[in-house]
């Protein structure tokens, strides 16, 4: 069912969150929250086991300096299926989860059985979370049932792994399409079986297409999550990915989540940031608040 979405008003509301002034304790707390919600990501054709190992080390211990209270590790590491085993081994004993992209990420332009096998293989390799892509070609040509059916089958293939459903909002373009896709994705996932809070996420983008995550797009998806919660009492998670590079931006997203959904969503089991360079900017802000000094770019290791 098509829900009208007024773009100008969405953009205004999204922009109002950026006017919130987050200072002192709330800034410290917010920054730590952001850090704990990051899915540290590497999705390159040139990824190697060593690359992934260094990313996992950064994920577990983002900064080697002393800080009170101690820093949390990030929420998860996100890699291609081929590198799941490496990541799993590197992260053993830590609280960092292994998320794998699957379903022919990022384009998804492959036969369905290949895409399902992609999921099964990643789960077998030990992925705790699967980030899938929806079939945008089918969506934009109006085959909504096909899109939904595929999501249901992917969730079934996930088993115990949590599922994040990437809408690729940059390709869907309009906020109304994004709302339709959000509602469709949630209902399709629910068709595969009952959902516990946080087992299913809707995610903005692969990060390979521009624009990636934006605040208006995220707001529309949060509205869809809100309505689902109002109707069923179930909390769907949300992950904006790509384009969030600064701590300031990330704090704006937290404000948006807090004021749209409520404090209950402000933890890593219900909200994630798909980012990589964000980590160091958060650290920069945290350390500056602690020491009072502006930091140099070399103060923080590259992942």
């Amino acid at each position: 069912m098509r829900i009208p979405v007024d773009t100008v008003m969405v953009e205004e509301r999204a922009s109002s969150f950026t006017c919130r002034s987050i200072k002192t304790e709330s800034k410290q707390q917010g920054l730590r929250l952001v850090l704990s919600m990051i899915d540290l990501t590497t999705l390159e054709g040139k990824d190697t086991p060593e690359k992934v190992r260094s990313l996992c080390a950064k994920a577990m211990f983002p900064w080697e300096g002393e800080i009170e209270p101690p820093l949390p590790s990030v929420a998860a590491v996100c890699v291609y299926p081929n590198l799941v085993r490496v990541a799993k081994l590197a992260l053993e004993g830590s609280t960092v989860a292994v998320a794998s992209v699957a379903t022919g990420f990022p384009s998804g332009q492959y036969p369905l059985d290949i895409r399902i096998n992609d999921v099964t293989d990643a789960v077998k390799a030990g992925a705790d979370e699967i980030d899938m892509v929806i079939n945008r070609g089918a969506f934009l040509s109006g085959s909504f049932d096909e899109v939904a059916e595929e999501i249901t089958r992917v969730r079934e293939a996930c088993g115990n792994a949590h599922l994040k459903i990437i809408l690729e909002t940059g390709e869907l373009e309009t906020l109304e399409n994004i709302r339709v896709a959000s509602d469709l994705a949630i209902l399709a996932a629910a068709k595969a079986g009952p959902i516990q809070d946080g087992e299913v996420f809707i995610k903005t983008s692969t990060g390979k297409v521009s624009p990636a995550a934006t605040m208006p797009v995220t707001l529309v998806m949060l509205d869809a999550i809100r309505e689902y919660y109002d109707k069923t009492g179930i909390r769907i998670g949300m992950k904006p990915a790509g384009g969030i590079r600064t701590a300031k931006q990330a704090l704006h997203y937290l404000v948006m989540v807090k004021e749209t959904l409520g404090n209950a969503w402000l933890n890593k089991s219900l909200f994630r940031f798909g980012a990589s360079s964000l980590t160091n900017d958060v650290l920069r802000q945290l350390v500056r608040q602690q020491t009072g000094r502006y930091t140099a770019s070399y103060d923080f290791s590259e992942a």
């Binding site: 979405v5 008003m9 709330s26």
Partner: protein
Amino acid sequence: MSIDTQQETPGEWEYSPAPERTQVSIEPKNKLFIGGKFVSPKSRSWFVTLNPATEEKLADIACGGKADVNAAVLAAKKALPKWSKLDGSVRAKYLYRIARRIQERAREFAILETMDGGKPIKESRDIDIPLAAQHFFYYAGWADKLEYAFAGCTVSPVGVCAQIIPWNFPLLMAAWKLAPALACGNTCILKPAETTSLTALRLAEVIQEIGLPEGVANIVTGAGNTGRLLAEHSGVNKVAFTGSTEVGKLLMRGTAGTGKKLTLELGGKGANIIFADAAIDQAVEGIISGIYFNQGHVCCAGSRLLVEESILDEVVQKLTHRLRSLRVGDPLDKNTDLGAINSQSQLEIVQQYVRAGVDEGAQLHEVHQERLPSKGYWCHPCFFTDVQPSHTIAREEIFGPVLSIMTFRTPQEAIMRANDSPYGLAAGIWTDKGSKIFEIAKELEAGVIWCNTYNKFDPASPFGGFKESGFGREGGMQGLRPYVRLQKVRGSAS
């Protein structure tokens, strides 16, 4: 190397105080601005202005009496010949200077506006002050282009203008009055509202700084009586008033038969109409900006919500949820959404209406439960359901953060209910269907119709009411009309 092994983060994340820290100095005794100078009142009378958030005294303000009003009118009269004969492009440059100077001193103006009137710093900073500067910028551009605004006429100024403004948008209302008047070659005496004189007087500093010729713009502070004296002065050619319908009617009677031009921008009880086919989440945002913006101290507020019955529950649920994130508090905190009510008397009025609503059988919804500070004038934003069109809270202007919700079933009924009011200032229509928007906009008896939006202001957009919300327009090309005399160019004999 330190790592937090306790991975569960606490569920609460609250905003720390984020006070605006810049200090603004305020004169302890604020004089009148007449003939280009700050002068003590001949009346020797002063009154106190308070910060409504703290009830602390901010300053003494001069109270203009008969002799002061007279001096101001004379100064305006004296300055008129030279000012009106100046090339429009020169008047334009003075107004551009005012606009630029307001932009340069924006922070100072915003803080002063918040301290004197109670509105959140976020609003004075992001809306009031930028719009005020923009208003001067816009009308500066008309000053040398008047011949294009009135086809077939030669244009001359009206003369000396008495301009009486309210306390809800003090600097912005001063801009709405002074900018078009000065652009058209008139000279002015501005009478700010009693509780909010400080930003007008700061504007007087700007006027002095940029070298506006003496007497072209004068500011006489005072109370209701000062305004009456000003409007009734025989040397005044035009009266412009924004305020309550009650006082507007007094002015109409008071100026009857005098030949003075009059424009009035009075009260309202705006109908905000939401159809089932609207973008509902965004419509709820529109409700919030319609009635809770500026604590509801807005003449064009969407204070009556007309909801299509089939979506009533959904709208009430979403409105309740959305209200929770509105923050009531210290107006100088950058995260405050709703500041203080402007005065003790206004607070009492709002509280009376809330009691009336309850007494008449409507259902009060108050989402915020926190205790309000003991000092200052505060009111939680709230709304009423089960409101009937005959209820007091459905008919009378409350001028506070109180929304009355009623239902309708068909477009015709919505139009009828919306028009069922002596007021006719503004209305809102929320629907995804374009043809419905245009048809209903045509039928509504309101001077400003916001479609899928609310409370949008722009100097290029004419603003004003139908019926007892007043007459005359401010903003846009039509906003020039009240400030000019038109001589029709003689046509050729046939």
